[in-house]
Symmetry: C2
Subunit: 395 residues, 2 copies
Amino acid sequence: MENFTFDVATDIRFGKDRLSELPAVLDTFGKRVLLVYGGGSIKRNGLYDAIIALLKANDNEIYELNGVEPNPRVETVAKGAALCQEHEIEVILAVGGGSVIDCSKVIAGAAISQEDPWKMVLKRRYDGPALPLVTVLTLAATGSEMNRGAVISNLETKQKLGIHGENFLPKVSFLDPTNTFTVNQYQTAAGSADILSHLFEIYFNKTQGTDVQDGVAEGLMKAVIKNLPIALETPNDYDARANLMWASTLALNGLVGKGRSGAWSCHPMEHELSAFYDITHGIGLAILTPRWMEHVLNEQTVGKFARFAKEVWGIDEAVPELAARMAIQKTYDFFKACGIPMTLPEVGINDDRDFAEMASQAVAHSTIATDAFVPLQADDVVAIYQASLTETNFL
Amino acid sequence: MENFTFDVATDIRFGKDRLSELPAVLDTFGKRVLLVYGGGSIKRNGLYDAIIALLKANDNEIYELNGVEPNPRVETVAKGAALCQEHEIEVILAVGGGSVIDCSKVIAGAAISQEDPWKMVLKRRYDGPALPLVTVLTLAATGSEMNRGAVISNLETKQKLGIHGENFLPKVSFLDPTNTFTVNQYQTAAGSADILSHLFEIYFNKTQGTDVQDGVAEGLMKAVIKNLPIALETPNDYDARANLMWASTLALNGLVGKGRSGAWSCHPMEHELSAFYDITHGIGLAILTPRWMEHVLNEQTVGKFARFAKEVWGIDEAVPELAARMAIQKTYDFFKACGIPMTLPEVGINDDRDFAEMASQAVAHSTIATDAFVPLQADDVVAIYQASLTETNFL
């Protein structure tokens, strides 16, 4: 296990009927609020009206930034930062999924630093001050509600990059599973694929002696694998939604990742799919994951895949490589059974014309070629994209 | 899953060679430090000297409270609080295991509130202010380094009671696995029994829909079960010590326990063993645990025990009751193989003369009789104590 600092002070308010706590939470920072949200689903399900009513009764001054994109764009960040400066915003209230929260984090920094947001993102780290951020989560997926990361897209340069901000950590996050009851099957499955991918990215790692982290990761994976089908079948199942929501938060708040280093694999590859084709992040991850697993399965990695097979999928098979392949097939079949399109053509990527450029960007914008579980060069990335064009059998 | 607030802001500095960060950490609170420690093991292993050297070089004013007992006594709390008041202490530095940290928490509160410490403990909750607390952990066991709880003993009244303090949460905790290399086999095993007991107390619970918490608990249990024998065999195995240490912290920082209610079972029963006979807490827990498991195994609980058998012990047995009994036997055998004396006479409790009084206190000082996984009346507690007098076979 490697040294780490675990310092995740977000105050999590988990459960139903807790929104009445919101005004007091905001008051600890100020009355002038920038409300950030996405495409309007919170208007359809009543959450927007509930929040506005609470804040008006609390004499908040509310300014709004709406229309944050599923892959939030740097122009939207700039717009939000300008609003903060113009209206002397004291606290940002992000109501939505990871995109809205990510966008709000970078707004929170840019509003104070007054830097050009894309220049900030290109530095990949921001240690300066940020406005306080409070979130109301509406999608179990990215874990952004309890960490310091954000991912911002620039469609002009076809780039989708992560940035870490020392002061991007939300102060308070409201996690009400009922706010995800209206998330449709496709987005529910995509969100869970994102959760699982975070866990896979961290779990398949070369650092030794991380039984605590591995055990926690396996527990979270099993919770998602059990509860996603329930949530798809019964969207209002509170416990299923609660388990997916809490798993999403814990998957990426450092609990599983701290104590080991190394680079992620599928996320850098997927970021290029989204940057070039603007597809749903979790779907891209689900498509790439089993192909990546098969590509990196070798003598050195088979032990971890065999553990994954036994502990997560309950596969009782003594031959490690066979166990590993059965686990990869199970992963593929699980995503497919959850309604996820499992080939690139199903999401509108019909040929390999951009693969070489995407692969070279994936390698350029990450340390996948040196620090990944199995280091991947541009050729490897192209091969994984290629394998994702058609249905695959892993056995 | 039930509603919960997860707000555990302790800044964890995990790993070796990080003590040089201590002066800067203390400086955020002040120069006047009360150093609290136990029986002197930190003098034998060099940790005391290292800390004193660092603090002297940092111009700290150091006052000391040493000799904190394994079951810390209320008189020691009073002594510490008086020292804080007399020397206008600005920050408490607890160097030790759970006893030292627990004692320091209540000192931190009593120093400011100036209440009689035992009156504070009898209220079981303290919401008032407290001095800031920084810890350097030397034993993987109680989890006190990242939570708001403390347990204090009063030998005069034969009481050992828990208290929860809103401001008892350590500000920063240094978790260096190498500081546990010198912990002997007996205390290492006792500490791990305490970790496992925390997980069992929380895991065997009636709240439904807690797959995330259950999966995390199972992962932590497996990490302890794998790494304790390694640490016993090779006391300087860094990764084994690191996994035990991080597991101890996560077992009781809310991660596993939040989202469900209910009372603990073995801890209230063990607190009476310690209060009456001053035995090692973790050893008492190990002795009681399998007898308690057998006592509460019934038609309603067998499902959870069968899950425990499968997920934690890898028991492949289709008949739930048999699987459950095999898991209880495995738990007993594991503790025994780790060198833990598994009957009460082995720890000097040779007869049942105090059992009735201890049982009545266990019921009086907790909600075990109403809120436990299986509610236990005084008669049940006596039966569990009785069963602990002799070797037991659970199959």
